[in-house]
C-alpha cells in the first residue's frame, strides 16, 4: 500500500471532467469528453454504452494505460481522495494490480501464452508484496482455489492454452484479486463467454466483491448484466455520460431518450415484443463529424433546435441522479408533455 490512507473519502473512485483524446495527423478524437462519475466504497458501478461511447478508454485512463497517440488531457481521477493524474509513473505502478486491478474482455488473449498460470499469478505477489518464489506459488494456489478452479496444484503449472475460456477468465480474476485491491475494473469480463459460463463468472465476482469489500467498475453493453450485478449505472454516449443513477431508477424510470432507446431495442429472452423492435434510428456519429449540440440529437426522436445547437450539461437532481438532456431543464423548448418512453418503431 502506498501512502497513508485518506479516511475522509466516501467514494473509492471519483472521476471529474475526465478528457482523453486520440490525436491523428489532423484530427483530435475526443474519446472521453468530460466524463464524471463516482463509485461509493464497496459498490458496483456499471458503465453502459455501445462501441465508441468511450467506456473502455475511461477505464484505461483510470489506470493511466492510455497509449500513443492517446493522451489524458484533463480532469481529475480521485482514488481514495488522491488524484491519480498527479502521481508519478513509479507510484502508478505500485497502484496497478495492487490497489486497482483490471480484467479484460478477451480471456483467450489476455494471458501471456508463454508463461504458466502460476508464473502469471505469482508475478503480482512478487512485485507488490515482495514474496519469494515459493511463497508466491503457495499464495497463487490459494488464489486459484478462491476463484473456484479445481485441482489448483495441477493447474498452476499449466499454460493458458490448456484452459477453457471460463477457466482463463477465472485466472484473470485470480491475478486481479491477488493483492486485495480496493477497486476492480472489469471491462466486458463476460462478453466473450457463453451464458452458462457467464453466470458462473458473474456469481463469482459478486461473491468475491462481498467477501473482499471492494468497489467494482463494470463496463458492459449488456443491460441484463447490469441489472443483475450493479448498484449504480452510468450510461455513456459519444464520450459523455448521459445518465447516472442507481440501478432501480434506471430500470424503472429511465430518463434519457438514449437510455430508453437502448432498453427498448434489445429483445429480452423473458419478454415478448409484438411486431417490430423499437430502434434508435441512424448510427453513432463519426468522431470527425461530431454534432455540436447534444451528441444524441441527430438520432433522438424528441430533438429540437435547442438540442441540435447547444450541448446540455450533466445536471444533478435532488436525489443525486444525473441526466444530460434538455427535456429535463427549464430551457426545454419542445412539447412540455413529452413522454420519452414512447419512441417510434421504424425499420429505417
Amino acid at each position: 500500500m502506498t501512502g497513508a490512507p485518506n479516511p475522509s473519502y466516501d467514494n473509492i473512485l471519483e472521476i471529474k471532467n475526465l478528457q482523453t483524446s486520440f490525436f491523428t495527423k489532423d484530427l483530435e478524437v475526443k474519446a472521453v469528453d468530460g466524463v464524471s462519475f463516482n463509485i461509493p466504497k464497496g459498490k458496483v458501478l456499471g458503465v453502459v454504452g455501445e462501441s465508441g461511447s468511450g467506456k473502455s478508454i475511461t477505464s484505461l485512463s483510470i489506470l493511466r494505460l492510455i497509449e500513443e497517440p492517446g493522451k489524458i488531457k484533463g480532469g481529475e481521477i480521485l482514488f481514495k481522495g488522491e488524484n491519480l493524474l498527479d502521481k508519478s509513473e513509479a507510484q502508478m505502478r505500485k497502484i496497478r494490480g495492487n490497489e486497482i486491478s483490471m480484467i479484460f474482455q478477451e480471456p483467450m488473449t489476455s494471458l501471456n501464452p508463454t508463461f504458466t498460470v502460476g508464473q502469471q499469478i505469482s508475478e503480482s505477489f512478487r512485485i507488490h508484496e515482495g514474496l519469494g518464489k515459493k511463497e508466491a506459488k503457495k499464495k497463487s494456489i490459494e488464489m486459484l482455489k478462491l476463484v473456484g478452479i479445481p485441482s489448483p496444484e495441477k493447474r498452476i503449472n499449466q499454460y493458458p492454452f490448456e484452459l477453457s475460456g471460463g477457466m482463463r477468465q477465472r485466472v484473470m480474476i485470480a491475478i486481479a484479486l491477488a493483492c486485495n485491491p480496493d477497486l476492480l475494473i472489469a471491462d466486458e469480463p463476460t462478453t466473450a463467454l457463453d451464458v452458462t459460463i457467464q453466470a458462473q463468472i458473474l456469481d463469482l465476482m459478486k461473491e468475491l466483491q462481498e467477501k473482499l469489500d471492494m468497489g467494482i467498475l463494470l463496463i458492459t453493453h449488456d443491460l441484463g448484466v447490469v441489472a443483475e450485478t450493479c448498484d449504480y449505472v452510468a450510461v455513456m454516449y459519444c464520450g459523455k455520460v448521459v445518465e447516472f443513477t442507481d440501478k432501480k431508477t434506471l430500470f424503472t424510470e429511465p430518463k434519457h431518450p438514449y437510455t430508453v432507446g437502448l432498453m427498448q431495442s434489445v429483445p429480452q429472452h423473458d419478454q415478448d415484443v409484438d411486431g417490430d423492435l423499437a430502434v434508435i434510428r441512424g448510427s453513432v456519429p463519426s468522431p470527425a463529424d461530431m454534432p455540436q449540440g447534444c451528441r444524441f440529437a441527430p438520432r433522438c426522436p424528441f430533438a429540437t433546435d435547442l438540442c441540435r445547437n447547444k450541448l446540455p450539461d450533466l445536471e444533478t437532481d435532488e436525489e443525486g441522479n444525473q441526466i444530460r438532456c434538455w427535456i429535463y431543464s427549464d430551457e426545454w423548448d419542445g412539447d412540455p408533455e413529452v413522454n420519452v418512453h414512447e419512441q417510434s418503431k421504424s425499420t429505417s
Binding site: E50, S51, S164, G166, M167, D194, V195, T196, I197, Q198, A199, Q200, L202, D203, H221, D222, L223, G224, V225, V226, A227, E228, T229, K247, K248, F251, T252, G261, L262, M263, S265, V266, P267, Q268, H269, D270, Q271, D272, V273, D276, L277, A278, V279, I280, R281, S283, V284, K345, T347, S348
Partner: protein
C-alpha cells in the same frame, strides 16, 4: 404447422472433423461437431438453432450448404438430397440457399465496390439478365435501407451495421428461398442490431423467405423465431415452437441455459440453475446423454443410454426433448441431486 411444406429436411446429419496427430500425422481421432441430428424447416418460417460455442450450430449451417462436406446423412432441399449432387448440379441449388455471416467484412472482397459485390453474385448465378442488373442493384440497396448513391463505395466506407446490410443485399441478389443467418447480428451494437433484425423480418414478409437463424442470443431468438432447436455438444436436446420453448421447456439444459441469462426484469424471481464446469470436449463426448456430466438430474441411465428426442404428455405437437427424466422432473418426482 405440420401441413406446411417442408423446404429443408435434414436427416441423421453427421459432421466429423479429423484430428491429425501421432507419429506420421495420421487421423487419430475426430471432433464430433455434429453427431446425428435431424430436423425440418418449413417454408416461410424462421427456425433458430441455439446453443453455446462448440455445440455444433454453425457447423450445421455450413453442412447444410455443403460449405464443409458432411460426413454422413441427408440434406433434402425442396425434395432433392443435395449431398448426392455433383458440383455443377449443386451450383444450381446454391442460388436458392444463401448465407449471411457474423462478420460480413470477412466474406466480401474489400477492393470491390458495393455495385461489383452485388453484381458478381448475380453473374455467378446468372440470376438476372445482364441489362437489368444495374437496376436490380439499386433496388436491392434500397430494399436493405442503403442509399442508391452509395452504390460505388467500398465496404470499408460503411459502418458495421451497413456492411451487414450489404451482406444481406448480396444474399438477396439471387432471389433465394432459404437464408442461413449465422450469428448475423451478434457483432452489431445493440441499437444497430434492432435495425437489422427488423430488416430481416421485413424482408421475410416481403419475399417469403425461410430463415435458418443460428444464434447464441436467446433474446434475439425469442423475437425472431417461429421454432427453436437447442443443441448441446453436437446433439439436438430440444426442439419446439417458440412459446413452448420459453414457457414449457422440458430439457434440463434448456432450463439451465435460459436461467443463466441475466434478466433486465428486476422483479423477476430467479431460480438460477448454475451449471458446474465446462462443456466436455467434442472429441470424446460423454457416453449416454451428453449433458449428464453437468446435469443436476443425472442418474445411472443417463450415463449409459443415449436419450431419444420424444414428445410426452403435456407437450405440444412437434415439441420434442431428449431427456430420460423429463416426466419425473416436471412432476417434481425427480429432484436435482445437491452436491454443490
Amino acid at each position: 404447422m405440420n401441413n406446411q411444406k417442408v423446404l429443408l429436411k435434414v436427416d441423421d446429419l453427421k459432421q466429423y472433423f479429423p484430428i491429425k496427430g501421432g507419429f506420421f500425422g495420421r487421423t487419430v481421432n475426430h471432433v464430433k461437431a455434429v453427431d446425428d441430428i435431424s430436423f425440418e424447416v418449413y417454408e416461410g418460417e424462421t427456425l433458430s438453432i441455439v446453443g453455446e460455442s462448440g455445440c455444433g450450430k454453425s457447423t450445421t449451417g455450413r453442412a447444410v450448404l455443403r460449405l464443409d462436406e458432411p460426413t454422413d446423412g441427408k440434406v433434402e432441399f425442396d425434395g432433392t438430397n443435395i449431398l448426392e449432387l455433383n458440383k455443377k448440379e449443386m451450383n444450381k441449388f446454391r442460388k436458392d440457399m444463401q448465407i449471411i455471416f457474423q462478420d460480413p467484412y470477412a466474406s466480401i472482397n474489400p477492393r470491390h465496390t458495393v455495385r461489383q459485390i452485388l453484381t458478381e453474385a448475380m453473374e455467378i448465378q446468372n440470376a438476372v439478365p445482364k441489362h437489368e442488373r444495374n437496376d436490380r442493384v439499386k433496388e436491392l440497396m434500397e430494399t436493405v435501407g442503403l442509399g442508391a448513391h452509395q452504390i460505388d463505395r467500398h465496404p470499408h466506407e460503411f459502418s458495421g451495421g451497413q456492411r451487414q446490410r450489404i451482406g444481406i443485399a448480396r444474399a438477396l441478389s439471387v432471389d433465394p428461398k432459404l437464408i442461413i443467418a449465422d450469428e448475423a447480428v451478434s457483432a452489431l451494437d445493440v441499437s444497430i442490431q434492432a435495425q437489422v433484425i427488423n430488416l430481416l423480418k421485413k424482408l421475410q414478409r416481403e419475399f417469403k423467405l425461410t430463415y435458418l437463424f443460428i444464434s447464441h442470443d436467446l433474446g434475439v431468438v425469442r423475437h425472431i423465431s417461429d421454432r427453436i432447436i437447442v443443441m448441446y455438444l453436437g446433439k439436438v436436446v430440444e426442439i419446439a415452437d417458440k412459446k413452448s420453448l420459453f414457457t414449457n421447456n422440458m430439457h434440463p439444459y434448456t432450463k439451465a441455459l435460459l436461467s443463466a441469462i441475466p434478466s433486465t426484469d428486476l422483479e423477476a424471481k430467479k431460480e438460477r440453475i448454475t451449471l458446474k464446469g465446462d462443456v466436455p470436449s467434442p472429441i470424446d463426448p460423454p457416453e449416454g446423454c451428453r449433458f449428464h456430466t453437468r446435469c443436476p438430474f443425472a442418474t445411472d441411465i443417463c450415463r449409459t443410454k443415449v436419450p431419444e428426442l420424444r414428445n410426452t404428455e403435456g407437450m405440444k405437437d412437434g415439441h420434442r426433448a431428449a431427456c430420460h427424466h423429463m416426466e419425473a422432473i416436471r412432476s417434481g418426482e425427480h429432484q436435482p441431486t445437491v452436491n454443490a
